[in-house]
Symmetry: D4
Subunit: 218 residues, 8 copies
């Protein structure tokens, strides 16, 4: 059978490690990849691993995984050591966005960053965001997660100087099904300093935030 | 040739008069309709009449039209008499939205309503909206015009109790081309009391606002 | 864990209370929100709560909820007191639209309005609408629910003076899958006084209707 | 140069003659095709021939063409002889739909059918359609042309027994740009006996109407 | 509860009877409608009734229904009497299209027409169509069902004089998912005499075919 | 100013030379690129060079270009020498497809292949294709160009053994605007041996045909 | 019941045999087709046969099928004899693309070709592709499978002279859901010699590769 | 007339100044805004100002503007003083992307950053990028501009550690028309550290790059 080829050099080359997107892989394929990681003595992050798929992995691998159901992430082995680094914050428009925020937070943790989550500050009740604004202004990079119409992205990016990484979430119905409205809102925003990643891509937002933090150390 | 059939009974039946959407009509067809209105002794509102089309109308009709180039509207004959009624306000996110706001304002004027325009209060600079908020809260119905990502709709509807009629404008580029992002933002909004009309449809928003004002008198 | 932030001030600020859209929340998250509402002594409306999710809520909360399966709504605690107010009517094109109509009716009830439902008057059999027209003309605000091609919206708005809030329903197949055709029909309508909300958004239509009724009292 | 291959056998095989869609052809290509028709002694219908393209044809060909600017059709040579046949009617929602209706009417005329046009009976003013209903019920096949939201299609097909061929027209703006809303309305209609052709395809509707008339003679 | 309003007058008015689209109705709603039909002494056609929904109907109603699983149709009561009428034929591109063809055939049968099905003559193997061409040419109206790219529609309509009603089927994957490619192929076809109904709409195609047959008797 | 970087090594690496897509370049940029080619002593193919842009190039460069207006291609310098190679054929559905066919033919000529064009054999008149079938079966690779519904692709690929490269052309209106229907027809085709390139991409089809011919020599 | 019509002549006519796309067929229909193949003494390839459908086939047919779950293909009877032919290679961007690659490989095997699979060489870690490049350059035709953004297609086609057949896979989420981004990337690529088939169409890519190999023998 | 409301506080609040998007404004509106800026003594950046609009501005304003036609940007007044800051680089896939790259470069210059442009390194000729890789690795933030299929984004972000801001450009035809394919490629990329802005939004990319640089100084 054709082999998986893991990109262990990615961490050194790009500053973030390869992760395994489990959504379209069979349990056998995931087990195979974990065996490769174990053989190489590498820690590994798994994303989009839903509970049913987790349950189908080999018992040995399940025992070595730290699994979080809401964010559908699992960590295999021991990631980076040392004190957790501050500077990145995560803001969500609603409670429903916490799964995506969790994927971002767990990815950051895997790479040694601790990122507080400020939840449920959508702009339909503007006071909720305003109450937390000073706290948000202390972050050097902000990840914002919002579904439905995503108006949070523009308002937030118009109020702070840090770069804002919009993560549109697939929370919504009717025209908002799948997260495309929130995505387009982020892209079409008039506010400066706003950039976007794919719908529900908490992992990618975390990687980009790490890259931005790294930029400051060059 | 097949004849136009004007719905002069619409004003009595629905509270707003039929208007002529000129965009897809030839100058000859518009002249023909104006002749019918003149014969019936009726005033008439023309929308989407761009300058080039206006110039091709018969000289006689041009002389009887009060034309406004920015909003591409023209009034034929004398509309409703009496003091102008207050209660409806128009809010725009940017300068570029003034053409659509003008179509709404001129439609309201034709029906006897005076609607102030509060322009350029988009939420990328939130203080601009906040400065005018008390003024806006005095309106009984608010028409809001915004293009690009249309974040104004959600923020505004979350702050006031009056019904807000979103008019997405076709101001934007890239994903925002044609106004579809602003439209979807309005439809997907989490804010209560927000309703939507077609892109650039200042005329329709005005008719709906009039219907809402009428509801209060029943 | 990050906390939900409920916007209890919304009722005072906008005239309608915050509701909880349950579709993308876990049962644990919904239980958490209900606990916050209980602690604050507030009544709360839950929407998009399907039977499977309802069954997974804590027994204590289930006992305090008045649940309606067809409309997927539940009421927690005691809503507004006093006599139910008239003036808003709901019209549907077909039997299949009754779930969405139910969400609107139950939202109105939560806010103190009684809204009769006139069902199954789609325009493929025009006599059905005509038979009920006088009754419909008595409403000060009309909510219209239709799926498939949504031709009801235009015909209805062309016949009455009250504002008509179109709620496209996701009833249909082929090109009509998801309700987008009915939505676009509402937006593109030539009839005056017609406004639109998101597909299946009975809740939003009810909030907008309340705002329109409020406009009449200012 | 590669030669055009005209399908003169189509009339015999299918009951309608090949026509030349001029929109994407150069004047030289159209002149070449007309020369082939002349050489074969055949009459020919040209569609989508706008005024600018007509003016660039060779003077000899221009002299032999009967050109109609509104419908952008031209007839080359002498079509079928004999008395014009009745039975097909054309109904339009608005004045703006007359160009497409004209393409259908001229195509029918080329094949020996006379089709009355009943214009401007869109359902936003339902009485206009009702006034003409008995007249419409006399047709054996009805071609209906409508843009914007195309609600006419459903209402009309729900009222008569003859087959209705919907021709969505590209009359509209915002979501209705290009005629896609009217097309989808026709396809999603709940009304029986309704079939559809491509946007603005008056020619195709006419060919289908002729085929339906032919069915009755078999 | 709001009542269903059945359009029993439709048969007389339009030549085809109202049918019940079961896909978006609860079993309780379908049972309610059948009770109304029974009370009125009317036969009724049910479409899009999948096996699971059929099993949830009341035992009494199930006993009175003639159910066909492949086409998901059921007949309640006794439809039109008398000898079955010929003249309409059904052609399919593949075996997978037989479910949709069955909906058309059963609808025709309900209205007193017997329609032979000529299956699996898609044009990737052109000889299959050519072998049956003379047989097809004998029909006065042809219903053609095809999914994937739907090339059958153009080839067939280019070969025969009868009107062809294209029914795009939702058979396909990738770009063809949902039947939109076959639909657009039918609409964009260069072949004359071709008209289209919604994806998978075998019922609508049958109603239109009946209308076309009726045209011949006027 | 930032410099263009020409990929003169592409011919050796991939078997086809880099060409200059002129559509989105200014005349100054094209002149700059031609100067680089002249300095390197390389022949160069220009595509999408419309007449207006050609006229704005420097007189010196215009004199060295062999320009073809219909295909909007120009050849700069002297391409490959030696006898023209046979084996590739080009088939078009209509006269309107000849511009795209010309881009393919001129690209092939630049690389030393002579490709006959068999034009106007669309399947609405199937006999036109059948008449030329033996001739087409002699090609080792066939490029097929079609717009509208593109039914030619499936029929052709179902009849011959050579690989067929579909080039959807942007010939069409309504749903077929821009060539997307023909593209999807090619992709969704049930016929074997059919592959596709971008809409109007005659250049890409020619490059692929050359690669396929090359495969036979390995 | 209407019969399936198998195109056993396809192999001789086009070089590749008809296969049965099982996705939209009932088990009864598949069993019926297998019985026809058995009666004709023909081998047959089944695609898109998922495990649940396989289990519903008749026991007799199951025993005669060689089934592969990952690629969802099954072979009935004995395909072509003789030594397996080399020359075609399959390259995938990720592990998730192996199911589609498997459909291609099994189709090739059915027709007598052995195609090595070079897996997991996506360009986010460019070294993985570079390491295998010489091996890939030895193939006369390359099938490339990639989901997500499909950047592999352009990079690969820019590096080799053999024709590259892109098979976009439906691996991805957010904007990449369904494989449309990878498809469009393949179509819009600037790299020469690249052609495309439908999303997930490993079968079609294999048929095209065989046609291209055949071209070399003509 | 309603007044423009300039957000001069934006620079202090967010680190980047408000710019005027001229594309949908009349010359009179732009002149009005420039007068406000002059009165406030502020420098101002104008974007999307095409040559025809520039020529219609008042002579006085034209004299004070430094206009660049390729990037369609103009600077009014004197921007920030002091030495230009390094650290941001711009990379383009093709010559056609230089207009968008110019908008980014001029925006950066207005804010005091000097950004080198490395042009024409698209991955169809991978050596072009590889030759410049070390140079690119020295930037702390990279803006990448690409149209067509945008494969450059993934390859580049997979090779360097700095954050990459993708600016999809509207360079392309067929499926790539309008830049949507390049946009989706950037969003769907598997490469880490990649974020996206709207199509052609060089201005927004520059603002985001400045925010990222600022993050490093906190």
């Amino acid at each position: 059978m054709a082999d998986a080829v893991l990109d262990f050099a990615r961490l050194k080359r790009t500053g973030t490690a390869e992760a395994v997107l489990c959504a379209s892989k069979t349990p056998a394929q995931i087990d195979h990849i974990l065996a490769l990681a174990a053989a190489a003595g590498k820690a590994m992050l798994l994303t989009r691993l839903d509970a049913a798929a987790f349950d189908q992995l080999s018992a040995g691998h399940r025992a070595q995984l730290v699994y979080d159901q809401l964010s559908r992430t699992a960590v295999f082995g021991t990631p980076l050591e040392g004190a957790l680094k501050p500077g990145i914050g995560i803001v969500t428009a609603g409670t429903s966005d916490l799964a995506v925020a969790g994927e971002a937070a767990r990815t950051l943790l895997f790479h040694g960053f601790e990122a507080p989550v400020i939840a449920d500050v959508g702009v339909a009740g503007l006071w909720r965001l305003m109450e937390r604004l000073e706290e948000i202004r202390d972050f050097r990079v902000v990840i914002a997660v919002a579904g439905m119409e995503g108006a949070l992205f523009s308002v937030l990016a118009g109020l702070i100087a840090a770069p804002v990484i919009a993560v549109p979430s697939s929370v919504g119905y009717g025209v908002a099904t799948g997260g495309h409205v929130a995505l387009n809102t982020a892209l079409a925003s008039c506010a400066p300093g706003l950039v976007t990643v794919n719908i529900d891509n908490g992992f990618g937002a975390a990687c980009a935030a790490i890259a931005m933090m790294g930029a400051s150390e060059a």
